[in-house]
Structure formats: C-alpha cells, structure tokens
C-alpha cells in the first residue's frame, strides 16, 4: 500500500491566515501530530507576500495596496516579493528525515519542484526546474518557490501562475530605480508566463489543483488523502495570525 499524506484544500483566505496555516502545519508536523501535508490555497483579497529578509516599505507601495484593496504579509521563508492574484499556491510540510527529502537544501528544492513539473505536465505544459527556486517553461518563469527548515521540518511553499498582470504587479511593488521602471516592466513581461497563456484558455483553480495533486502523488509515489486541520493546528494558526502575520511588528520589522 502506498504511503498516505494529508491533502489540505483550505480555499481562499487572507494573507495572514494563509501564512499562519502554513506555519501551524509546520509546527504540528514537527511535533509528530500530523502526517506529511500538501496544501493548495488561494488569496482573497489578492496579496503581496515578501521574503523574510526584505524591507516591506522598500519593496511594497503600501498606498497602492490600500487603494487597490491588496493585502500584504511577511513570510517566514526567504526569497522575493510575490503578487498573489490569479494563481494556485501550494505548500508542503514534511520531516527533514523523510527518505524522499534530500538533506541538501538545493536538492530538496529540485525534488519538490519535480512534483510541480509533473503537475504542469498533467496540464500539457513542459517545464523545468532552474536553481535557485524557479520553474520555467520555454525559458519563462511560471512558478516561484521558497523553503524554510525549522525543528527538523521542511516547509516549502510556492506559486503556479494561472494568469499574470505584470502592470498591476508593478503598480504595487516598488522598484529600485523609477527611471528604468518601464524597461523593467517590459523585461518582466518577457520573463514570466502563465498557464492560461500557454494553454490559450482560462483555467480554474480546481483543475490546476487536481493536476498538481496528481503531480505530487507521482513524484513521491504516495496517495494524497483529503483531510482537515487538526484542532491544535486551528488554535495555532489563530495565534500566529494574531501575534505574527497580522501584526504590524512582524510585517514592518524590516
């Protein structure tokens, strides 16, 4: 019988709830309370997440966020700022000692991205992993990923772009040099691509999630069984939402 992992489908949530759930699952798994977990989720309202080491005010135009009703949050993972809009976001939480997870961080990025590559293939899209943390199709980025390891447990989360609006993204993000902003936007338009663009048709969240679920099952030779958050995880995520991801101290700490 195949090893069973938990699948969480938590739907659309605010930025602070989304990040609180990922962290709660990380803690619960590290304490041996829940099995390896793959989660698919979306963001409502749309949101910008920034990497742990980034400066919120240097990266994000907070006035524009307010104007457009866009949320923002600091992640516990490193990496760059991401505008979460028409995308599928995944997270995987699994013990560092699980035989499927390479000890080496870069190798483990590659392994987990392998699940997404198989998922994209299920949608008819060829793609490849490009270190450090991107998946590209035809040389253009379709997925960004970020990993942390805490208490001997891996949390990797990332996005699959279902559609992309680079102009809107740059109305929310700050650029180091305003003078070259137009060129930067043109460059990014050339460097990113979405599932919708590649397939030539709209694709919904559920269909993308089904393809990715199968991708994870294929890559890790496991069965993903739909479950729900344990009581401990619900409590923890409420605590993290209030004390961390929804708190000014955390989001503005850099």
């Amino acid at each position: 019988m195949k090893e069973q992992w938990r699948l969480l489908l938590t739907g659309y949530n605010t930025a602070s709830v989304n990040m609180a759930i990922d962290r709660a699952v990380l803690v619960a798994n590290s304490e041996g309370k829940v099995p390896p977990t793959v989660r698919f989720y979306g963001w409502s309202p749309p949101a910008i997440s920034i990497g742990y080491f980034q400066s919120l005010e240097e990266e994000v135009d907070l006035d524009s966020c307010k104007r457009f009703g866009v949320d923002y949050v600091r992640r516990i993972t490193g990496g760059g700022a991401v505008f979460h809009d028409a995308e599928l976001t995944y997270s995987i939480v699994i013990s560092e000692s699980h035989p499927s997870i390479p000890k080496n961080i870069m190798e483990s990025y590659g392994r987990i991205c392998g699940a997404l590559i198989k998922g994209l293939k299920n949608l008819g899209i060829e793609s490849e992993y490009i270190p450090i943390n991107d998946i590209v199709s035809g040389g253009r980025k379709i997925s960004g990923n970020a990993q942390t390891r805490k208490s001997r447990t891996v949390l990797q989360h990332g996005t699959i772009l279902m559609d992309v609006d680079v102009d809107k993204m740059f109305s929310l993000l700050k650029v180091p040099d305003e003078k070259i902003k137009d060129k930067l936007i043109a460059d990014v338009k050339q460097r990113v691509i979405s599932v919708k663009h590649l397939l030539g048709e709209d694709i919904d969240f559920e269909k993308t999630a089904v393809a990715m679920k199968t991708g994870f099952e294929e890559e890790f030779d496991v069965e993903l069984v739909e479950g729900s958050l344990a009581e401990d995880e619900v409590e923890l995520s409420k605590k993290f939402e209030k004390e961390c991801f929804g708190a000014r101290d955390w989001n503005h700490r850099r």
């Binding site: 990497g51 742990y52 080491f53 400066s55 490193g78 990496g79 760059g80 450090i132 805490k150």
Partner: protein, 105 residues
Amino acid sequence: MLNLKIHNLSSKEMQSKSVYKVPNGKLLKISLDYNDDIISKIRIMGDFFAYPEEAIEIMENELKNSSLNRKSLLKKINSVIKENKIEFIGLNAEGLTEGIMMCLK
C-alpha cells in the same frame, strides 16, 4: 549597482545604502550607519535565503562595531557563518562583504 550616501552634519555619523546583485545569486540590499569607518548599525536585506533565517539578526548584531575594512569584514562574516552554522543560498560571505563595502563608494 546603486548607492546613496547621506552625511549627517551634526555628527560624524554617516548613513548609506547599497543594492548589489550577487554574482549567480540574489539581490542584496544593505542599509548602513557608520562612524569613522566603524559600523554602528546594519540591516542586511534582499531576496536571498539563509538558514536558519533568524541568524541574519545575529549577523547584524555581530557586525556592529566592526571596522569597514574589506579583509577584516570578510574574516568576521566567515567566522559568524561558521559559529552559527548559517547556510546562505543566493548570497555568500564575499557578496555580503561587497554589498557592505559598496556603501562607502
């Protein structure tokens, strides 16, 4: 790539920022306060990865009172990395040293 220096005339305290693309790595942004070539405060920012993440605050604290000399800075950064078992991805000791030294240009 980019730096901005502000001289506070009321004291010798200087503030400076740099943005440096680490070769084969990520974008590093340094915000530096210094006085007579001694670091008084540093913020190490950017889209790199560091494990454990909290070690970046240890690095920032350890670099306080360090001299802005490329050789000694690199040595100090390497020793903090070793002592705290920090693993950088998209950043390294040389890149961090370069980003800090760029604040002086």
